[in-house]
């Protein structure tokens, strides 16, 4: 399938370097997820890791030259990450997810 324009080896190599840098930044965020002094630091670190994952998956899809396979996964994961962060924030704010008295 010939979907690339230009010299494929150079640009895909650059994508791979960019992916390595994003992975390094994910590891740096993991440091904050482990050692955040409050629980809110950990929640925001996990949300940031989720966004970076959702953007590194299409990049890997282009590296494998089958991007159509990976983009749906990345869209679903971005949604999942967002909803998960909202649920954890709601629980931390109220102490419960829904009130049993309503």
């Amino acid at each position: 399938m010939d979907i690339v324009k230009g010299d494929p080896m150079d640009i895909l190599g650059l994508f791979m370097i960019a992916g390595v840098f994003i992975t390094i930044s994910i590891v740096l965020d993991l440091y904050r997820a482990f050692s955040g002094p409050t629980v809110f630091d950990r929640v925001i670190a996990v949300s940031v890791i989720g966004t970076k994952t959702a953007v590194i998956i299409p990049l890997i899809g282009f590296l494998f030259e089958r991007p159509g396979l990976f983009i749906d996964i990345s869209l679903s994961y971005a949604l999942l990450n967002f909803v998960g962060t909202l649920i954890v924030a709601k629980y931390l704010e109220r102490g419960e997810l829904w009130s049993p008295y309503l």
């Binding site: 979907i3 690339v4 324009k5 230009g6 010299d7 150079d10 640009i11 650059l14 994508f15 960019a18 840098f21 994003i22 390094i24 930044s25 994910i26 740096l28 965020d29 440091y31 904050r32 955040g36 409050t38 809110f40 630091d41 929640v43 925001i44 670190a45 949300s47 940031v48 966004t51 970076k52 959702a54 953007v55 299409p58 990049l59 282009f62 991007p67 159509g68 983009i71 749906d72 990345s74 869209l75 971005a78 949604l79 967002f82 962060t85 909202l86 924030a89 709601k90 931390l92 704010e93």
Partner: protein
């Protein structure tokens, strides 16, 4: 256009730079609310730049539409998640750091 992969690579590297800046800020900043600044904003912009670079790599296909929806969703969802966590922390009494009370 011949130079389209080069523009795409520049955008992807710009986005990677912002993501690395965001994770460095997540480590360096002294307080939870300041870390929200460093986590939410460069992450969103870096993600939009990377997705824009991937769109320009292979334009006018189904992938373009899906990537566009991914970037639009993250553009709206990241500030909302940031605000949700900040509101939870504020209602739980987390006090922000000020420079004059070392």
């Amino acid at each position: 256009m011949e130079s389209l992969p080069i523009v795409s690579a520049i955008l992807v590297f710009g986005g990677t730079f912002f993501m690395v800046v965001g994770s460095i800020g997540l480590i360096r900043l002294p307080d939870f609310y300041a870390r929200l600044h460093a986590a939410g904003k460069p992450d969103t912009l870096g993600e939009i730049l990377i997705v824009l670079g991937l769109i320009l790599y292979d334009p006018f296909s189904l992938i373009t539409v899906k990537l566009f929806f991914l970037s639009f969703f993250i553009l709206v969802a990241n500030p909302t998640a940031t605000h949700a966590v900040a509101m939870a922390a504020y209602k739980r009494g987390l006090v922000p750091w000020r420079r004059d009370q070392e």
